[in-house]
């Protein structure tokens, strides 16, 4: 078969090619470039090979940050996913004023910028003027996010739950709304329990949106930066110093460009790896039900 060559087609992909190049490929390659150099100043760079990677991988503080990060992200998923599903199940269906109101209320936290969320909670949790802090103090709970590590960690977690559970709930709600009412009728006629309806109809039908919710919430929480930065700047001690915090300290605070670049690449690969693992697990669970 004769294939007609038409090179003009290349012109059509040039815009996309340029956008991707400038927004993703070139910056990433710059980072790769930095990661293999020792940089003293403009024009004073030396090739060091994989040395930075070796330093980064052996960095104890990075290991601590990574463990803190993993625990944090898992906690976020463990709370936000079930909570989001529960909220979605409890939401009113159909087209009514009640539905619209619920949707608007749920969407509100999603509209608030990250640093504002941080500031809100920073003030909210203060012992002297914050509603939450003052209430805790009044009922005798010792809560102080500025010098208690656990309190600070929990505050960042609650902040994220407050900010992002809505997203999970809205996604699940969309999934639930796509189930034809006949499914529920059929289950009713079958005499299926509420649990059976959830387990065998709602959950499988929500699988698609749940994959998206888990991936989004995992990646986002794994890259959390603004909230702890605004709240305590990563403290007290290192208790809320997550990977991003540590990376920023290294790159902007100490101006350790080479090391920070190597760190970035490792960071990127970790996120990629975890996302891949989650994706595989969730899609496999679905297939497993075939057997």
């Amino acid at each position: 078969m004769d294939k007609v060559q038409d090179n003009r087609a290349w012109f059509l992909i040039i815009p996309v090619f340029l956008i991707v190049a400038f927004s993703a490929v070139i910056p990433l390659m710059t980072v790769v470039n930095y990661s293999v150099q020792e940089i003293f100043g403009p024009g004073q760079t030396f090739f060091v090979g994989t040395e930075w990677f070796e330093v980064v991988l052996a960095d104890e503080r990075l290991h601590d940050a990574l463990i803190r990060q993993i625990i944090y992200s898992l906690a976020v998923l463990a709370i936000e996913i079930p909570l989001g599903i529960l909220i979605a199940l409890g939401m009113p269906g159909g087209r009514s004023a009640k539905t619209s109101l619920t949707l608007v209320l749920l969407a509100l936290p999603l509209l608030i910028p990250f640093n504002v969320v941080g500031t809100i909670w920073q003030i909210f949790g203060r012992g002297d003027i914050g509603l939450l802090g003052a209430t805790f103090r009044a009922i005798g709970i010792d809560y102080n996010y500025t010098n208690n590590s656990l309190d600070a960690w929990l505050t960042v977690l609650v902040m994220d739950v407050w900010h992002w559970t809505s997203l999970v709930a809205l996604l699940c709600y969309a999934g639930l709304q796509s189930i034809p009412p006949a499914f529920y009728q059929a289950a009713k006629i079958d005499g299926a329990s509420k649990w059976a309806v959830f387990r065998y109809i709602q959950l499988p039908k929500m699988r698609g949106v749940l994959i998206i919710a888990v991936l989004l919430r995992f990646m986002d929480s794994f890259m959390i930066y603004t909230e702890p930065f605004v709240l305590t700047g990563g403290g007290p001690g290192n208790s809320t110093t997550f990977l991003s915090q540590y990376l920023t300290q290294m790159a902007v605070g100490q101006f350790d460009i080479g090391k920070a670049a190597a760190f970035s690449i490792v960071y990127f690969l970790i996120v990629l790896l975890f996302s891949f693992i989650f994706y595989t697990i969730i899609t496999r669970t679905g297939e497993g039900e075939k057997k």
């Binding site: 034809p180 006949a182 079958d190 065998y200």
Partner: protein
């Protein structure tokens, strides 16, 4: 089971979805609910199933009043337009699910599932998920799930609508045999007169929330009590022409005059409406008694291996049937033949007065 509806009606807000009706379904009978969209078929089925409570009247199962009882305490199974199966369960588990809920032992479940699957010819796919089956197989799985339950009342709400033509024909042909076990009372809703005729049994004609007629399918087809009923139970729609009856002839408003036949002789003279089904208005002249009508072709539509010719004649549009596939140029002249022995005579108010095959007393006139 014997299902009895006594004066059952459904009103939602100010809207009367179903006007009061009485109906008795015999054990093991096959009952078709025939009506167009929004006729109230699904509403009626939901009342029968107990998914909704009627706003008036009583529902009895074997003489026991179950009007307010929840669907969980009813002995029903249902199949829907959409293919409803548990998405994450295999076909086997789907079919087994009602039995498991009944607490049957393993061997019995296995035997029943395999027997039912074999009956619906989905036994090779027991280990698959519903999403991995074709539409027809998915619906077979849903029917198997409903059958295996062994309920006294089986409701099928337009089960074949979402299937393609070929699959629909195939499954429809099997359905009668599958349901002929003699115990289950089957109710089958459809919009298609053809389907009702093929399935047989009894038919209940619904129109805009009212029951027009009920009885053995062929009786209702041969003697629709009113023009409304004839319109629902006729595809293409019955030709209806205003006419005047005299002693020996009936004069149609388009100028055609038909001789009277055995069934419409001795009727009081005066104005009436005459109904002629498309298959009694033919292009082929089958015998000498047929009366020619000349008209101009407005449209000819091909359905299967027949052609329906719409022709304009004397101010009315008639639909005639022609065997085989033909195309008639629009506007061309055509001669069709009306069979005077097969016409229906209705009163001017639309009530049936005479029909060629009217077995008097065989019908219950509702309207």
């Amino acid at each position: 089971m014997t299902l009895t509806l006594e004066g059952v009606a459904k009103r939602v807000g100010a809207e009367q979805h179903l006007h009061p009706l009485a109906l008795e379904l015999q054990p093991g009978s096959f009952n078709v609910l025939l009506g167009r969209t929004l006729a109230g078929k699904t509403t009626l089925m939901r009342l029968m199933a107990g998914l909704d409570a009627p706003s008036a009247g009583r529902v009895l199962e074997n003489g026991k009043n179950v009007t307010g009882a929840s669907v969980r305490h009813r002995d029903v199974a249902m199949v829907y337009q959409q293919f409803i199966n548990y998405p994450a369960m295999t076909v086997y588990e789907n079919i087994a699910s009602p039995l498991r809920r009944q607490g049957k032992d393993k061997a019995e479940i296995d035997a029943k599932v395999r027997r039912t699957a074999a009956m619906l010819r989905i036994d090779p796919y027991l280990e698959r998920l519903p999403a991995e089956l074709s539409g027809g197989q998915q619906q077979r799985c849903a029917i198997a799930r409903a059958l295996v339950k062994g309920a006294g009342l089986l409701l099928l709400d337009e089960p074949l609508v979402n299937l393609d033509y070929k699959l629909r024909e195939e499954l429809r042909a099997e359905l009668r045999d599958i349901f002929a076990d003699g115990k289950t009372t089957v109710v089958y809703a459809t919009t298609e007169p053809q389907e009702a005729l093929i399935l047989g049994g009894n038919v209940t004609v619904l129109h805009e929330g009212r029951m027009l007629q009920t009885g053995p399918t062929s009786d209702v087809f041969h003697a629709p009590v009113s023009l409304e009923c004839a319109a629902v139970f006729s595809d293409p729609p019955m030709n209806v022409v205003d006419a005047i009856l005299t002693n020996d002839r009936v004069a149609l408003s388009d100028g055609t005059s038909l001789p009277l036949s055995a069934h419409d002789r001795n009727l009081p003279a005066g104005p009436c409406k005459v109904g002629i089904r498309a298959n009694h208005l033919t292009v082929l002249r089958r015998n000498e008694r047929l009366v020619p009508i000349k008209g101009r072709v407005e449209l000819s539509e091909i359905s299967g291996s027949e052609t329906f010719v719409h022709l304009r004649h004397g101010g009315t549009t008639l639909i005639a049937r022609e065997d085989g596939v033909h195309s008639h140029p629009i506007g061309s002249e055509i001669q069709v033949y009306a069979d005077p022995d097969r016409i229906f005579v209705f009163s001017t108010a639309g009530q049936l007065v005479a029909a060629p095959n009217w077995r008097r007393g065989a019908l219950r006139n509702i309207a």
